[in-house]
């Protein structure tokens, strides 16, 4: 379980970073949102993976998952939404203002013929 978790976080991070480096605002914001998910999973996994042991105190229960990373990640998830909203608003505003949704604020002049994408 630990292995696929670690690999999974890695793959999501890689995909997020790739999207983050795109030139248009929308994929970039998508990458940012995905990166927060990866980051949250990473921080959460710092408390180790313990199935079936929610940190809700009950008599007779001895095994609990670590509540500290959970509390940290909970607010991070919500803040992540606030951030995505803000960056998205920035992108929309920039598009209205400059007429381009390129992160640089203007349409790039292609140096070379781009590959044919999907």
């Amino acid at each position: 379980m630990e292995l696929i978790m670690a690999v999974g976080i890695g793959i999501v991070t890689a995909c997020a970073v790739y999207l983050l480096l795109r030139g248009r605002t929308f994929p970039m914001v998508l990458g940012l949102s995905m990166l927060s998910t990866a980051g949250n999973l990473f921080i959460f996994s710092m408390g180790r993976l313990r199935p079936g042991a929610p940190p809700i105190v009950a008599a007779g229960t001895e095994s609990y998952a670590d509540p500290v990373p959970q509390a940290l990640v909970l607010t991070a998830i919500v803040i992540g939404f606030g951030m995505t909203g803000f960056v998205m608003a920035l992108a929309v505003r920039m598009y209205h203002q400059t007429g381009s949704d390129h992160v640089d604020g203007f349409e790039p002049v292609p140096e070379r013929r781009p590959e044919q994408g999907p």
């Binding site: 997020a16 998910t37 998205m88 608003a89």
Partner: protein
């Protein structure tokens, strides 16, 4: 208290008054500068009798004692002599400048800068704390920069100012490093502590490094070879500045520093060798070059370099008489050189040129100036009856009396002779070329200089004679006190007098005078000096090369990094972080921990597979934006399931709710942005980004793997044990949020609120007008609206449930807020967002503010009760239907969180939902609306 007043008077009163009075004419500004200076001088004079009697004052005011920096001041013989020079010559320069500057010059600025410099210089000579001294030291470099560049329109002035600042400022940095090293060894930055710890410091292995750094500081400031080149370049300054800063005071700061530190450095062999060698080289070199300068000020500049070298040489020698000669010559040089500069300024002012090849025969037009220039030049050459003669005699005596200096012992007498003859030669040239030789193509007929412009130079000339004839009645007490401050009280019996009987120094003086005159005659008549073309200034050229090189490299680096592409910046940032992250792996390697990982459960693998498909698919299909949004959503949902599986129900709920609102948000934005994404990345760009992405992913995966396979030590047990007794709740995550880490949460909802406000403000002006279509995502809005209405009540009930029970079971303000927001937003979408908002007129910003205020007030309630902020009290009433409700005061706080989160989510979504499409967008672009 006197010393700070002496320093601060010019700084505060002087600068303020000159700036205030600058519109009242030149004289008013000059008076405004002169009066504070005179007041400082009077205060200093008041202290003089005590100091001359051998007293010394130390005063300390604490400033930053933890860093060793204090307002500590010291007044002793050395400081007294320098203080008199700074203030006395300063006063004369103020008078001189009033007539020198032209009506176009900004006189207020000039005097203000001069006052600033004066204060800084006084600060240097009165500082007891080395760091304080350094501060003033750099302030002199700075004010010198501004004064050299006073004529900002002149490229030469700007270049000279830059050069002076780079060299002296750079030297100041070296000095700072040296001071820090010595201060570290001594454990204090007070000079007296250094002197007490003299042996400890000198035996420390780092002492030689510190010594070298301090010497670099002193040599750059005092224009010693090979750092001398900034001084001739600084001659682009107005002449009063040259007279004051670049002959009488600032260039003496390096000498002063070494004299001040003499009790620490004196007698050290390295110090002695380096200082004497550098001083002697500078002396001969400067004097030689000075003979060939055609510019009056250029000649004086190199002559100054030469004399500074002489003083440096004397100071380096390990005898107390040489130190006495050094401080004596400091005073003598200041007087005759300042008056020579003033004479040069008068000549320039009245003839329009400083070129000695063109000047000539001026004794007819300016007899008085001629006389005072002859007096000062004679002092410079070392002619008997003038002050320069006395100190030069002592210099000769010292040079003949060297011992234990190996090679230098043989070279020094010859070098000294040569330097002195050159010195005589350029002095003769100054007088002969300007006042007696034939003029050539003068710009205009020389005027008579204004009466008072000559007064300062005359006063200085009188001082030269008075000291030269009657040293015992004029300067000897001051020189004696200054020398005692340098070398202590072990000064042998000595006598400074005009006539010391026939002695080798007297013979040397005679040879120098005769030989120097012959050299000039030969140069003028056999070599034809006026046709000499000065060689390129090598030091200056090297500096310029280095300077241009640095600027060039910095420019190219900046251009490469800052090409305006945000993508490149981000790639660089990521690359840097990758490097930093890889560092520990390089050092410690990657090894798995000791805990065996568990086997993946089949359902887990399925969810994992879905997430991977989502993430990779989002990358693969990111050009088709709506597909990418959906695929990215899969990742979020998988994360939610992972949270649930690994015992984090709160996170699972929050993630689920956030995933839904985020997807909504992205889809709304999609309608407002053009799409699909055009394919524009080159193959190379894709490869670069791919490499960065893979490296980042691999790094994070390895880090997670390394952690997940290791045992855990956590602070969790404290919270698990105390959640119920202290926080009154079973759900530890919630208790952490609203109680243990309540302050943190308080900050987070504020941040959240700010983000939402920013979103709202960013979209200001884009709302309302233009084509706007509320996204409904439903083929039939009617059905959607009905369904939403039915769901509303149910969803709100769930939210309430989550909220009330959050302290004991999964839930809480965050989740409840998100669910309620979702229910309401669905309602809006069903009804049509704009119509709905027009009807209801709710200001969500007030909700955010209200939520924060409620949370804050709850926290404050405990303060009123005398407990720390956000301490909670508990009550567990049993309510019919709901069962036992954990009623804690933290619930008030959670209510605040709930309202703030609700407001935030709704504000973010509705602001985006109200934005009209950009008019230029085609119908095709907006197709996702329908």
């Amino acid at each position: 208290m006197t010393l700070p007043i002496i320093i601060l008077l010019p700084l505060l009163a002087g600068t303020a008054a000159t700036l205030l009075l600058r519109h009242r004419g030149f004289s008013a500004a000059a008076w405004a500068a002169a009066l504070p200076t005179a007041a400082s001088l009077a205060l200093l004079a008041d202290q003089a009798p005590g100091i001359l009697a051998g007293e010394q004052f130390l005063r300390t005011w604490r400033w930053l004692p933890d860093h060793g920096l204090n307002f500590s001041f010291r007044l002793d013989g050395l400081g007294l002599m320098f203080g008199f020079l700074i203030l006395g010559i300063g006063l004369l320069v103020i008078l001189y400048a009033r007539y020198y500057l032209s009506p176009h010059d900004r006189i207020g600025r000039f005097y203000a800068l001069l006052m600033l410099f004066m204060s800084a210089m006084l600060g240097i000579v009165f500082s007891e704390n080395a760091l304080l001294l350094l501060m003033f030291w750099e302030l002199t470099s700075l004010s010198s920069f501004l004064l050299i560049g006073f004529w900002t329109h002149s490229p030469l002035a700007r270049q000279g100012a830059r050069m002076a600042f780079a060299v002296t400022g750079g030297g100041g940095l070296a000095l700072l490093a040296g001071i820090l090293i010595i201060g570290n060894i001594a454990g204090s930055f007070e000079l007296s502590a250094w002197f007490t710890a003299r042996e400890t410091i000198r035996n420390h292995p780092h002492f030689n490094v510190a010594l070298g750094l301090v010497l670099v500081g002193a040599f750059t400031k005092s224009a010693q070879f090979p750092f001398h080149f900034w001084l001739p370049a600084a001659m682009a300054a107005p002449t009063p500045v040259s007279a004051y800063l670049h002959s009488a005071t600032m260039v003496k700061a390096g000498v002063f520093l070494l004299a001040r530190l003499y009790p620490l450095l004196g007698g050290n062999l390295v110090f002695e060798y380096v200082t004497t060698t550098v001083g002697l080289t500078t002396m001969v070199f400067g004097a030689y070059v000075a003979m060939f300068r055609h510019d009056l000020k250029g000649l004086l500049a190199y002559s100054t370099i030469s004399h500074l070298g002489l003083i440096m040489f004397l100071l380096g020698l390990d005898t107390s008489m040489s130190s006495l000669a050094a401080v004596f010559h400091v005073g003598n040089h200041a007087t005759f050189k300042a008056s020579l500069f003033m004479a040069a300024g008068i000549i320039d002012h009245e003839c329009g040129t400083r070129d000695m090849r063109r000047l000539g025969n001026l004794w007819r037009q300016m007899p008085q100036t001629t006389v005072l220039a002859i007096v000062a030049a004679s002092a410079m050459a070392g002619v008997p009856l003038f002050n320069g003669f006395l100190s030069k005699e002592m210099f000769f005596a010292e040079a003949l009396d060297l011992h234990d200096l190996l090679l230098l012992e043989d070279i020094a007498p010859v070098a000294v002779m040569l330097g002195s003859m050159f010195s005589v030669a350029y002095s003769v040239r100054f007088i002969h070329d300007v006042f007696f030789d034939k003029p050539y193509n003068l710009p205009h007929q020389p005027h008579k200089p204004p009466r008072y412009m000559k007064v300062p130079a005359e006063i200085l000339a009188v001082v030269c004679i008075a000291v030269g004839v009657l040293p015992g009645y004029t300067v000897v007490p001051f020189v004696d006190a200054a020398a005692r401050a340098v070398v202590g009280d072990d000064l042998p019996a000595y006598r400074i007098a005009l006539w010391n009987g026939f002695s080798p120094p007297l013979v040397m003086s005679a040879i120098a005078l005769g030989g120097g005159s012959v050299i000039y005659w030969l140069l003028r008549h056999r070599y034809d000096l006026h046709l000499h073309v000065p060689a390129h200034y090598t030091g200056r050229l090297l500096f310029q090369h280095a300077y241009d090189g640095f600027i060039g490299v910095a420019g190219r680096l900046t251009n490469w990094m800052e090409n305006g592409s945000l993508q490149r910046y981000l790639a660089l940032v990521i690359a840097v972080f990758l490097g930093l992250g890889a560092w520990p792996f390089m050092e410690y390697g990657l090894d798995m921990g000791e805990v065996m990982p568990s086997t993946p459960a089949p359902p887990g693998v399925i969810v994992w597979g879905a997430a991977m498909v989502g993430a990779l698919g989002a990358v693969r299909f990111h050009h088709t934006r709506v597909v990418a949004v959906v695929l990215a959503g899969v990742v979020g949902l998988a994360a939610s399931i992972a949270f649930a599986y690994f015992s984090a129900p709160d996170l699972s709920l929050t993630q689920l709710a956030v995933e839904v609102v985020t997807t909504l948000l992205l889809l709304m934005a999609l309608a407002l942005l053009p799409h699909p994404t055009p394919p524009e990345s080159t193959r190379r760009r894709k490869a670069r980004d791919g490499a960065l992405a893979v490296a980042a992913g691999a790094g994070v995966a390895m880090l997670s793997w390394a952690v997940l396979t290791r045992d855990q030590e956590s602070i969790a047990w404290f919270f698990l044990e105390n959640s119920l007794p202290l926080g009154g709740g079973h759900n530890v995550v919630n208790v952490l949020l609203v109680d243990f880490r309540g302050f943190d949460t308080f900050g987070e909802i504020i941040v959240l609120g700010i983000a939402a406000m920013c979103t709202w403000m960013l979209l200001d002006g884009l709302r309302g007008e233009g084509p706007v279509e509320t996204p409904s995502f439903a083929a039939n809005r009617m059905i959607f609206a009905v369904a939403a209405r039915v769901l509303l009540a149910f969803a709100l009930l769930v939210a309430l449930h989550m909220f009330l029970l959050g302290h004991d079971l999964p839930g809480g303000g965050f989740v409840a807020g998100l669910i309620a927001a979702l229910a309401l937003i669905m309602q809006y979408m069903g009804e049509g967002l704009r119509r709905m908002l027009a009807h209801v007129r709710i200001d969500f910003r007030l909700w955010i503010g209200g939520g924060v205020v409620i949370a804050g007030l709850t926290g404050l309630a405990s303060v009123v009760a005398g407990l720390p902020f956000l301490t909670s009290g508990t009550l567990h009433p049993v309510v019919p239907l709901l069962g036992e409700i954990p009623l804690v005061s933290a619930m008030g706080f959670d209510l605040g969180v709930f309202i703030a989160v609700l407001g935030t989510t709704l504000l973010t979504l509705t602001s985006l939902g109200q934005v009209h499409r950009k008019p230029s967008m085609t119908e095709e672009d907006g197709q996702w609306n329908s």
